[in-house]
Amino acid sequence: MTRLHRALALLAAALAVAAWHSEPQGRVDNISPLDLADRIVRQDVALRVVDVRPRPSFDQFHVPGATQMTLDDLRRQAIPLSAQIVLYADDDDRAMRSAQLLRTRGYVNVVVLREGISAWISRVLEPRLARDATALERAEFDRAAQLSRFFGGLPQSDVARSELPGGAREFARQAIAGMRRRGC
Amino acid sequence: MREGKPFADPYLAGIGIGLALLAAYVVTGRGLGASGGFASVVAAATAAAESTERATRSPALSPYLTRGVASPLTDWLVLELVGVAIGGYVSARLAGRSRVVVERGPHLSATSRIVAAVGGGLFMGLGAKFARGCTSGQALTGGALLAAGSWIFIATCFASAYLLAPVARRLWR
């Protein structure tokens, strides 16, 4: 190992540690898809839903009432400080980083929709109830179904337990594919 | 005894490749993908041999033929491969390492080597299609972006080669 190698290794290590450190430390709170749906239905005035995915994805499908913002917009655009911001993306990394960005600008009322658009589709638009559901699951499904119909979704009861979104990511992907075929 | 100049530091060579890959991300938003270039050559050849129209209808070939016998992406990959060849040639020339030879293990005839090379290439062609890439397209391009499938490819590729190495000893040792 020559001195050059050592220096390069040190540089790489430093950049990597800095990379890890630059990620959002401290919790950014989450909001559940149903709670978000609820607030949209109630026309919560302070609510600002922000989609931080690329424009083409947003144009194809987005949460009703959401606005799209790029990372540049997040850095520069003026948003009322009193706004209650809900961010979502395709992946939580991106959403979390956007949330952190806003927090460094002084916005404290920022939460993230975990699993983003996939969660919206699988929990709000196409909620599912297992055949052998418990009373608690039934109650949650009733709430979801009601919200779902408001958004033109398709609740499904009487589903095999193996087809519930335990693997929400996999299922949601199929849901998105299904929507594309139906031409949403 | 080695002809030509000694090889460069592998780490520096690697950093150079990494910077080239980074340039690809920055300019095109995609990576290096050598096998994609090969695949598009096959697609173009198939389109020429059968008919472009029939080839375009084939689900395996259509991604490479969005514009008749090519597509914007494959143009880039093929041109990239041309650059790879030129870069390799110039470097070899300047280092005195350019010569026409069948490089092979000490106990292998040239013919056996060529047969093995074609066979190896065949497996790699199949493997690269299954994996949607090769060492440059998946391992490097996807690996640097932490793509899960790329790392699956890296792990299985190296594991299978290491496991088979004792059996293939005669080829190289």
Binding site: - | V84, R97, E103, C157, A161
Partner: protein
């Protein structure tokens, strides 16, 4: 964000296309300089006598990984617009196994085969030819193997997303593993003499 240039319009399509041979040249040059245009040197990897492949590949990977991460962080490159290869668990595992076998037997991979051929190595030409045959075979078989090829799709996901950790954590883990690997590689090469 100014990059990727093809998305932000900094370079027109001609400019983007012109970059291909330039970037390819750098790639080919570095591969040859590192000695990866030589099948004998390459396969030393699998007999633990010459670990150049590992060193080159992973220093390239770490360089591009750290570079991409920080260009994105600094607002220059939008990683969200960079194509992330999709994950197909079983097909890519199968592909990896097949490719590994071919790599060992052929001694060169697609990129290095081009470099080898350009430097006059006829075996490089043979590998390239074999690759074209392999791809053609795949295309011919496609209708039969299609369900397998398209199975177990997870979409464009990263290791860190699957693990539920931030991207930077993955970057650190891979860098540390690579550096440890380099140290180990030196040790192995010295031990083998």
């Amino acid at each position: 964000m100014t990059a990727p240039f093809s998305e932000t319009g900094v370079l027109g399509s001609t400019g983007v296309l012109a970059s291909a041979p330039l970037i390819g040249f750098a790639f080919g040059w570095c591969l040859e300089r590192g000695g990866l245009g030589s099948a004998r040197k390459l396969t030393g990897q699998f007999y633990l006598t010459d670990l150049t492949v590992f060193k080159v590949m992973f220093s390239a990977l770490v360089t591009a990984m750290l570079g991409a991460f920080w260009l994105d962080r600094l607002g220059v490159l939008d990683l969200g617009l960079v194509y992330l290869p999709e994950t197909y668990v079983v097909p890519q595992a199968i592909g990896g196994v097949l490719f590994g076998v071919g790599f060992l037997v052929g001694g060169l991979c697609p990129g290095t085969a081009c470099v080898a051929a350009a430097a006059g190595r006829l075996d490089g030409l043979a590998v390239a030819g074999g690759m074209l045959l392999g791809i053609a075979a795949f295309n011919a078989l496609f209708d039969w193997i299609r369900p397998l090829v398209e199975s177990t799709a997870l979409g464009a996901v990263t290791l860190t997303q699957l693990a539920g950790v931030p991207h930077g954590a993955g970057v650190l883990a891979i860098t540390v593993a690579a550096l440890a690997g380099f140290a180990l590689a030196s040790r192995i090469e010295r031990a083998r003499g």
